[in-house]
């Protein structure tokens, strides 16, 4: 049985990818040990568990590592199939969910990182892609409660860490989330009412503080 094996999540509190894993595990009400990694000094366990990328998050289940956040979320869904399904039952619904989660990776988090890593002059293309990405997600969400409809699921989990990072992206990307994506902001608030999300997302002010510190430390100002 899945529960009897040891479960450890190697993570870093600020990572949106790590937040996805925490939310998935919380939705499934699975107990695990949370190990906070110092990404400047990676633990031997992390290096051994993810030798290819040496990155968090990594879920280690009974000594076996699973890497890549969306792969981890799907693994969690499949290893604990008896409760809180994270993906739709039908193949078409699953394909749509995977498509939009992949879109979130490419257009939101990859672009979002460029917004705070690049200097203002270099941001142009990334900002355009990011705000266009937000609009497409708003269209996809429409009037639904969650991306999955009535049930909170895969796409919601993929995207909701944005709520901890929005403030940071807004500040360095010079835009307003309320203006560019009011439906997503409302959806984010609904998601935050879920315990799994509220307990997994850090305070956006703390994320912003850390990013400011990193920018100074790496001379990105």
């Amino acid at each position: 049985m899945a529960e009897t094996k040891e479960l450890v999540l190697l993570n870093c509190w600020v990572s949106p990818y790590g937040m996805r894993c925490r939310i998935a595990l919380a939705e499934k009400r699975v107990e695990y040990e949370h190990k906070e990694e110092n990404v400047m000094e990676k633990s031997p366990l992390l290096l051994q568990s993810n030798p290819v990328h040496k990155k968090i998050p990594v879920l280690v289940h009974g000594g076996k590592p699973v890497c890549e956040s969306l792969v981890i979320v799907q693994y969690v869904d499949e290893a604990w199939p008896d409760r809180a399904p994270l993906l739709p039952v039908d193949a078409y619904g699953r394909a749509q969910a995977r498509f939009w989660a992949d879109f979130v990776d490419k257009k939101i988090f990859e672009c979002g990182t460029k917004l705070w890593k690049l200097k203002k002059e270099a941001q142009g293309e990334a900002k355009k892609e990011f705000t266009e990405g937000l609009k497409l997600l708003e269209d996809e969400l429409g009037e639904k409660k969650y991306f999955g409809g009535d049930a909170f699921g895969f796409v919601d989990i993929a995207l909701v860490p944005l709520m901890a990072w929005f403030r940071t992206y807004e500040s360095f990307g010079s835009f307003s989330a309320e203006t560019e994506a009011p439906k997503l902001v409302a959806w984010g608030k609904r998601c935050m009412e879920r315990e799994s999300v509220a307990m997994s997302l850090p305070d956006p002010a703390k994320v912003y503080e850390l990013v400011c510190y990193i920018r100074k430390a790496f001379g990105l100002e």
């Binding site: 076996k64 193949a91 699953r94 394909a95 498509f99 879109f103």
Partner: protein, 226 residues
């Protein structure tokens, strides 16, 4: 299991490695489909309507409902036709996670390195990309050893998810080898993968849809001249 006429259509183009992936998956499942070849240099109305987000091939139309992104289509085909042919993804959740991990690695890290060899404008840039490509192949060789468990494919006895992900790039890898003189799937560096590459290309589900290196070389040379 033959699909009813018009039920399954695939929008694509024969040279594309991404299009090859769902074709292999459909062949593995014995699914009949209509192949809608896009005109070179032009995107059809149907494509633009079916994939408004990326406007790219491949797009699978199943009962006119579009599925986009090559490996997502592969997984969809595996799910819908679960009772036909062999499973493309393994049943065990952990093994599925490994297949998905390596598929992401192949697209996000390995493909850019071989693409980099092709695009390189200096010898140094070419050498750097080649080193990255070989390093990636070494990792994939180790992955092959673990996942194949001594059998012919990443999927074991039959073609699986990672086979499709990596195998799709084989002919384009050949093109790069011929244009640069570099050997990518080298029997000395990665002996298991060198054998695997032959097995993949020779497979029933692959050989008729795998483009010929000569024809791809023509396209590559045409692009270079532009």
């Amino acid at each position: 299991m033959a699909a009813a006429a018009g039920e399954v259509r695939l929008i694509g183009a024969w040279p594309s490695p991404f299009v090859l992936r769902p074709r292999v998956a459909l062949n593995l499942k014995g699914v009949e489909y209509e192949f809608l070849q896009e005109k070179f240099g032009e995107k059809s109305e149907l494509l633009l309507r079916s994939n408004p987000v990326y406007k790219k091939i491949p797009v699978l139309l199943h009962h006119d409902k579009p599925v986009c992104e090559s490996m997502i289509i592969v997984e969809y085909v595996d799910g819908v036709w679960a009772n036909s042919g062999q499973a493309i993804l393994p049943a065990d959740p952990y093994e599925r996670a490994l297949h998905r991990f390596w598929s992401v690695y192949i697209d996000d890290k390995w493909f850019p390195s071989i693409f980099g060899i092709g695009k390189a404008e200096t010898e140094e840039a070419k050498a750097e990309s080649a080193e990255q490509a070989w390093a990636g192949l070494k990792l994939l060789e180790e992955a092959f050893e673990k996942l194949s468990k001594g059998k012919a494919f990443f999927g074991g006895d039959t073609i699986g998810y990672v086979d499709i992900a990596l195998g799709a790039y084989l002919r384009w890898a050949n093109v790069i080898e011929q244009m640069t003189g570099l050997k990518l799937f080298d029997e000395e560096k990665t002996p298991l993968l060198a054998v695997w590459a032959e097995s993949f290309c020779a497979h029933e589900a692959v050989k008729e849809v795998m483009p010929e290196t000569e024809k791809l070389l023509e396209i590559a040379k045409m692009r270079q001249e532009k």
